[in-house]
Symmetry: T
Subunit: 69 residues, 12 copies
């Protein structure tokens, strides 16, 4: 049987630069240990504030990847 | 009776450039066939990953427009 | 007893420039009257459309800050 | 095969007179172009305020109708 | 021990006359067999359409009442 | 910078007369201390029951208003 | 610019035979008028009961398809 | 007044055979004590695993029926 | 056929002593009239305030039990 | 017109001692500046971890109070 | 202390044959590397369409298993 | 680049003693194999009932920790 099975892990990427950069950071980190990364889904956008400005964005997201069988 | 009625359609805009560009792409496409576009609401932000990077962002969104009566 | 208590207020930041700028605008406004701003949580991303383009982004968000006791 | 299939469209009815009138307005407009309207489901009740009063109610709703096959 | 315990039942009231009347109908029916009715919570507003108009409103709601112990 | 920022407050209007009147009561009270009221969003409809009838409706809602900067 | 844009429509497939058949029925009907059908998402599974058995399953689902530009 | 009122009860049907059979089991059991069963709504699909396989499916669902008045 | 079927009822336990005691109160009351109580699921934690303190906790919860067939 | 209107504010109480104490802390702080506190609703339970233990619980909650008119 | 602790992982099983087969595929794959699999919870049912038919079902689900301590 | 990335895992802690103890049990178990545990978020409170009492509480929660890069 060759039906594919995927797994999702939940990560929080952070960046002072913006939402897209926080997403990229989480994917880059996931890619260091996981293969076959396929898609991501953002579930929350939040961040910390310091001195009246966004200090860094925090993007909670799920990353899906294919499991080798 | 002249009370306004609106319709919402659900679109998925995509772009490798970022979330805002994916939103703009969906609105531009909607505008080719629909008039009186008025507002949008993002319901999901997702994307595909290729070679350890975001290949393109996918923004699921609703676009509201006034119906002519 | 010195356990911290926080309050969250709900704001809508707007900007024609993008999502991050709309977030920054809401935080800047909140900072004019509130102290100890600590974090934000985005709950909705929406916007108005004019002439087939995004006229401005509207980011509904909560801003959390520590209460002085 | 004669199993029925239905479609749902999402509309926003508005009225200064009240929630039920806003619902009726959306249904009346839908009925101008769609046949076999069967049911509706309210998903949001909102409205605009002017001079300290409700200027008009906005009822976001889905309208379901049977597709001819 | 005299701490109160409540039960909630889920009902669907219907009426051609409007939302409030559908709510009243459900409560009146509940009151025929249940005592100590205390509060209600609307969870859905829907309805059937016939001949391009609302044929009747359907209000899905929970009704809470105190249990005798 | 002249981008608008809005605030939302959460109120519960009550009335024995019906849902629309409960909404109006909350808006009237909000208008006594807040300026630039702009829109409302209903989040819950509930109520108390007495003697087998609705004693009063309770409408939980958010009221949005523009902040002066 | 060649970024893809997709649209989602909401359908209700029905069948006495089971959930998968109800899904297939909705997709078959959608395919009669829409091209480039790409994916579906089930949002609700419900059904009617007659004589103490499931008379037919109703699957509320969204069907996504690529828009030609 | 002859407006219909319905009640919903929440059941969990189980079966090793599949999702549809679990639904049928819950409806059959409900029908032993309740009359006028009219519709069902699935709210959760879960199950137990034993020896690396689905031991039985559990379908959490609401069953609606008309109240006699 | 011996597949088990369960029913869930929704209760609100209250107690001035705390959340666990409110849960225990609801279960004890349910056990006076229902057999085979099996599990509970908390859906809301709320409470009343008097003189600046929690007067009692209110835990909204579902209690599941096996139906005898 | 004497129909009551309530306001809800969102607070985060914290305590190393437990969930109930975190709730009490938030209410005590709210009571320093607000009158007629009436009820609370917990919306999230979270906390910080230090040295492999809960360092403090964080209870996100809404506190409702009657507005004087 | 011997209180049990469980972990949940999120998987996506796929199959052209149907929803139950997609669930079984995910569980079979999980069982290759995890012990003490105990239950599953379906969170989404979706799928891909090709040539006007369901090409494969995708069932997003959580699988729970007991951790050895 | 030194932006932090976090991962969340989903656990179910159990205890007959109460909700806080169930949370502590899950964190203690997580700490045996994971470093840099930082926060937790409760997503469900449930439990098993035996002999008319809570046999054990089950707290479904996510535990967040910083990934070393």
């Amino acid at each position: 049987m060759t039906d594919r099975v995927y797994k999702k892990v939940e990560l929080v990427g952070t960046s002072p630069a913006g939402i897209e950069q926080a997403i990229q950071n989480a994917i880059a980190t996931a890619g260091e240990t996981l293969h076959h990364l396929d898609w991501f889904e953002v579930s929350e956008i939040r961040g910390h504030i310091a001195e009246g400005k966004v200090a860094h964005y925090q993007v909670v997201m799920k990353v899906g990847f294919r499991l080798e069988r």
